[in-house]
């Protein structure tokens, strides 16, 4: 075989290159099947950090689409329910600089709130039901609606579509389930703990050093 190929250099060159290309093509084809990734693993990790309120305040139809958008380079500061802590966690994961929350997409609420429908005024238009991302509003056409308090994430999305403005966002009452100890007051933050032998306010010593 080799002797035959050696007699015809052109045939040998063709065989070698085609053989090489075929072998490598097969290898890559196998690798594409063997190392196939389901979906986007980085989007999964981002999705785990997002608060899963599905509120859509970021401009995406839910947390998962926003996670995919972040994986493709979208800004990380569009999630008000996640707050500064969420942005910090995302910045750590993606090795980026944390940026302040984009106020265009809403502000961080310090106290979690719950939607409340003034049932006497409700006309049963079902518009808030369609707006609710977590199906926390119960009701039917021309019937009054009500909110399942335990399901409501306090995302404000139902307030805007209501034609009679009968939805209030009520700050959540502190109960046995939601109360927690205040975090210790970080006094040390305001004090400069870096050891120094220069007297505060003594500029001449700093210059001399």
């Amino acid at each position: 075989m080799i002797d035959y190929l050696l007699q015809y250099p052109l045939l040998a060159a063709l065989t070698a290159l085609v053989g090489l290309a075929t072998a490598f093509g097969a290898l890559l084809g196998y690798a594409a099947v063997r190392f196939k990734t389901e979906g986007n693993p980085i989007a999964d990790e981002i999705n785990n950090i997002l608060p899963q309120t599905q509120c859509g305040q970021c401009g995406y139809p839910g947390c998962r689409p926003y996670a995919e958008a972040i994986a493709n380079g979208e800004a990380i500061n569009k999630c008000p329910p996640g707050g500064e802590a969420g942005i910090q966690a995302l910045a750590d994961l993606l090795d980026m600089e944390p940026t302040p929350l984009d106020s265009e997409h809403g502000d961080v609420k310090t106290v979690p709130s719950v939607a409340f429908i003034r049932e006497a005024e409700c006309i049963g238009c079902t518009k808030c039901i369609q707006a609710c991302p977590v199906d926390a509003i119960l009701g039917a056409a021309k019937q009054m609606h009500t909110v399942i308090t335990s399901e409501c994430t306090g995302c404000d999305l139902c307030v805007e579509p209501c034609p009679v403005d009968c939805i209030d966002m009520i700050p959540q009452q502190e109960s046995m389930q939601t109360w927690h100890w205040d975090l210790p007051n970080p006094v040390s933050r305001s004090v400069d703990l870096i050891a120094t032998d220069s007297v505060p306010g003594d500029v001449s010593q700093d210059r001399a050093a």
């Binding site: 190929l5 070698a16 290159l17 890559l28 980085i42 090795d95």
Partner: protein, 192 residues
């Protein structure tokens, strides 16, 4: 035997450094040295690809091209080998380490056209290296590339905050620094 291989490593890392002495792989040297983390990721990926590509191209040459008398096809064959090795690395990395893939995703295709990779494969042939020698030479080339890239990135990070005269700001002072580093590496010439 051991002395031979350590000599080969030192020669590839310091004396015949691929970037600063042989001037191969200059595009990532200038392009990816703005941030230290990116430079570290890039040097890791390049070292890996250099070692693998050096060994694979050596095998291709000695077991396919040479027996058939096709030495003149080595450039084309090596480009094919390198492209496949890089693509394979990218697939494996995407599966095993998504974060590293996110950091290196842009650079991996760049490595395909990195002249240091093709350079190490061709130099292996012209220096008549055996398989093991090629492996060590490729790894040495990668280690030398990493050393220089990380050092240079560290310097450039300091240069961005340094008080540089305005005509020299940015890439210009980077080039001057690279030239000075190259001069410094020429000092290793008498080592081996």
């Amino acid at each position: 035997m051991f002395a031979d291989y350590s000599l080969l490593l030192i020669s590839a890392i310091l004396v015949n450094n691929f970037v600063l002495v042989q001037f191969l792989g200059l595009c990532p040297f200038m392009g990816v040295s703005n941030k230290l983390e990116a430079a570290m990721g890039m040097s890791l990926a390049t070292t890996f690809v250099l070692t693998l590509a050096s060994a694979c191209s050596n095998l291709t040459y000695h077991f396919l091209l040479q027996p058939l008398g096709l030495g003149y096809l080595k450039t084309i064959a090596f480009i094919l080998v390198i492209a496949v090795v890089v693509q394979f690395t990218e697939m494996v990395m995407r599966k095993t380490s998504p974060l590293l893939h996110r950091v290196l995703g842009v650079y991996l295709p760049l490595i395909t056209t990195n002249c240091a990779v093709l350079g190490v494969a061709l130099l292996n042939i012209s220096k008549d290296h055996s398989f093991l020698q090629a492996l060590f030479y490729g790894f040495g080339a990668g280690a030398g590339f990493s050393l220089v890239l990380v050092l240079f990135a560290a310097m450039r990070e300091r240069l961005t905050v340094a008080d540089v005269p305005s005509p020299f700001k940015g890439a210009a002072v980077g080039m001057i620094t690279a030239g000075l580093m190259s001069l410094a590496f020429m000092g290793f010439a008498g080592l081996v």
